[in-house]
């Protein structure tokens, strides 16, 4: 149980490139913090700085208020699950899990070690594999052994470095819920690195989005989704990603590729003086107008290029030509998000009932209030509502505390019965 505080952490490599640049984070006791970003954003480096495998160039790293910058990994009392598991192939599963306990010489008797390992293997359902060697285990089992090794001792925090990226999709889903359940049950502070936004959204109490070593936004998944601070966060969070459309500013009107939208006085003041802005609309906020779901607002007609029907939902793709003035910005954003720089298109997440077919001109409708507007130069979100964001943050924090208390109550009840 510990809180981890990062103060202006910087990691510079020999060539002076800052892999981690001035990152400050407060990770509360028992919190599940996710570090997420595209490849090369410095998230793994940051995690390795926390655990002590990577030197800190400048800044302070505190565990429970104590500065640990100079401490060796073994003195920080953190446990880590590596991306490739890093199991000891010459030891059985039991000995792999017992390894950290055996290293703490004199602290544990043989019975204590056995009971602790058995408790961990019970939790991870590894009981029938304890005598086997890691080489004979499947990917999911190896993953569980690595987790067993992390939870067997009373570490102050768990650190995960993309633990699920080597598993297939189905197993990944199962292990994701397993990790979530385990973290709630143990109530241990956890820092989890991933490049997968689904993992980030589903697991995290809070998510820190990084880009090129810089912290973009650290907030609850809900806040990231509803109130992103900039273009990058908006584009990174959500699947399929948010649609970005260029819009010409004409007083209180935004001219989008397929329609014009009236905006309120507040926003009009913010966009005043700009020729062009970028408008972001989530795919699920655009509706099929013919379904008449009571959505009022901006309606437009556009040719549908491709549709994908998935049973519970369907996607429609509408290609459009981006204004050359913002084209460069959108391309850059796409590169930042590890994209391929493909054609610009609008993705619409439609109800499965919709009869929209590819090749036709179809009519759509969306609520302009759900629209995000971004400054094309800085990428800042102009429609972010601080009051709302604060409310969401408080709500999620309250949810988290309730969840932890519930887990603790359940645990103590189990202990007494």
């Amino acid at each position: 149980m510990a809180e981890i505080t990062l103060k202006n952490l910087v990691k510079k490599y020999g060539d002076g490139f800052p892999a981690v640049n001035d990152i400050s984070l407060d990770i509360a006791d028992g919190e599940f913090m996710i570090l997420v970003g595209p490849s090369g954003c410095g998230k793994s480096t940051l995690l390795r700085m926390i655990v002590g495998l990577e030197d800190i160039t400048s800044g302070d790293m505190l565990i429970d208020g104590k500065r640990v910058n100079e401490l060796a990994p073994r003195d920080r009392n953190l446990s880590m699950v590596f991306q490739n598991y890093a199991l000891y192939p010459h030891l059985s599963v039991f000995e792999n899990i017992a390894f950290p306990l055996r290293l703490a010489k004199g602290h544990h008797s043989e019975e204590e070690i056995t009971s602790k390992v058995n408790a961990a293997s019970d939790m991870l359902e590894l009981n029938e594999h304890l005598e086997r060697k890691p080489a004979n285990l499947s990917g999911g089992q190896r993953q569980r052994v690595a987790m067993g090794r992390a939870i067997v001792r009373d570490a102050d925090a768990f650190l995960f470095d993309e633990p699920l990226s080597n598993l297939d999709a189905k197993l990944r889903g199962q292990m994701r819920t397993e990790i979530s359940r385990m973290q709630r049950r143990l109530g241990t502070t956890t820092v989890y690195v991933t490049h997968d936004q689904t993992e980030a959204m589903t697991l995290g109490d809070r998510v820190a989005v990084l880009k090129k070593g810089l912290l973009q936004q650290c907030a609850s998944p809900r806040e990231l989704y509803d109130q992103p601070v900039n273009l990058f966060v908006a584009g990174f969070i959500g699947s399929p990603p948010m649609n970005f459309l260029p819009a010409q500013v004409d007083g209180a009107t935004l001219r989008l590729p397929f329609c014009d939208v009236e905006i309120g006085a507040d926003l009009a003041a913010k966009v005043e003086g700009k020729d062009i802005v970028i408008v972001g609309i989530r795919p699920e906020h655009i509706k099929d107008a013919s379904l008449d779901d009571g959505v009022q607002g901006a309606a437009f007609t556009a040719p549908v290029d491709v549709t994908e029907w998935l049973g519970n939902e369907q996607y429609a793709y509408i290609p459009f030509d981006a204004d050359p003035a913002v084209r460069a910005k959108l391309d850059e954003l796409d590169r930042d998000l590890d994209g391929e720089g493909m054609r610009t298109q609008i993705v619409v997440n439609l109800d499965a009932r919709s009869r929209i077919r590819e090749g036709d001109d179809e009519s759509f409708v969306f609520d302009p209030a759900l629209m995000h507007v971004f400054d094309p130069e800085s990428g800042d979100c102009l429609t972010r509502d601080e009051a709302k964001a604060k409310a969401i943050a408080e709500e999620s924090e309250a949810d988290r505390r309730r969840g932890l208390e519930r887990a603790k109550a359940r645990e103590s009840k189990n202990a007494t019965t």
């Binding site: 990994p73 953190l78 490739n84 000891y88 192939p89 950290p100 080489a135 190896r142």
Partner: protein
């Protein structure tokens, strides 16, 4: 797939057979000679398979080197060989292990210099070093002593051991060690409890190679020793026959067979340990 594999290996099998015969015949010839009586050595009539195998196998030659006239020469030499080679191997492997680990894991100035020097030294013709070494050894009193042989053997085996071991260490994922450190191990504990067991096949391989190099060496053995520290390969050259005009062929061959036996035993014991791939299962796989 399987049938294709068998098909694919057939030419190699065909190619391997002449090579095996080529390398095996001298050894069998040695064995055959060690069992021949002086009469059989001189006359083809006493032998079968075209003068190859003795009709009457005799143990006289073995008796000669263990209990007979040549035992004074052979037995001390055998003892010297065992002591010198085992010491050179143990010291060499331990030194090479530390050196190779540093080379594989650390970045320090002069790393490339060490590696290239090691390689250059192993290319250096041994015979060119013998005369100066002989002069030096006689001056500082190392001539004809056990350490006087161990030191040159270390110089001979270390470069190779360092290269082989550093390749093995490099193949062990960094994460193994980092995981151990996060689990609470000191650098030394991580090395001893994780890296060394994982590098065991490499350690055995280098140990055996170093042992063979030292065990089979003739040039140093004959030049740097007299009668006190002489090893078997050198001692064989001093075998004498019953008379000045008779070559002690049988005795030499028997001794050659005897000194080959430890080598064969070592390979048989350790061949299973020299399989790479002990690290399988460490990482995702």
């Amino acid at each position: 797939m399987a049938s294709q594999d068998i098909k694919g290996t057939k030419p190699y099998t065909l190619l391997a057979i002449p090579i095996i015969i080529w390398t095996l015949v001298p050894l069998l010839w040695t064995l055959a000679l060690s069992g021949k009586s002086p009469a059989a050595l001189a006359s083809a009539n006493e032998n079968t398979l075209g003068n190859f195998w003795p009709k009457d196998w005799t143990w006289d030659n073995y008796a000669l080197i263990f209990t007979g006239g040549a035992s004074d020469l052979f037995l001390p030499a055998l003892r010297n060989s065992v002591v010198v080679c085992l010491s050179a191997t143990v010291i060499g492997v331990i030194l090479a292990m530390f050196c190779a680990y540093a080379i594989a894991r650390l970045n320090f100035p002069g790393k490339r210099v060490i590696l290239t020097t090691a390689l250059t030294v192993s290319f250096f013709p041994v015979i060119a070093m013998v005369t100066p070494l002989f002069d030096l050894w006689t001056k500082i009193g190392l001539f004809d002593t056990i350490p006087g042989l161990i030191i040159p053997y270390l110089a001979l085996t270390l470069p190779l051991s360092i290269w082989v071991l550093s390749a093995f260490f490099q193949a062990i994922p960094w994460e193994m060690e980092q995981a151990a450190q996060v689990d609470g191990a000191t650098t030394w504990q991580a090395f001893r409890k994780v890296i060394v067991p994982l590098a065991a096949p490499g350690v055995f391989t280098t140990a055996i190679i170093s042992f063979f190099i030292a065990w089979n060496d003739f040039v140093f053995a004959i030049s740097l020793t007299s009668d006190k520290a002489r090893t078997v390969p050198a001692a064989l050259a001093f075998f004498t026959g019953a008379s000045q005009f008779e070559q002690p062929t049988g005795g030499i061959m028997a001794a050659a067979v005897v000194v080959t036996i430890p080598v064969v035993i070592l390979v048989l014991i350790f061949q299973r340990r020299i399989v790479a791939g002990l690290t399988s299962g460490a990482v995702k796989g």
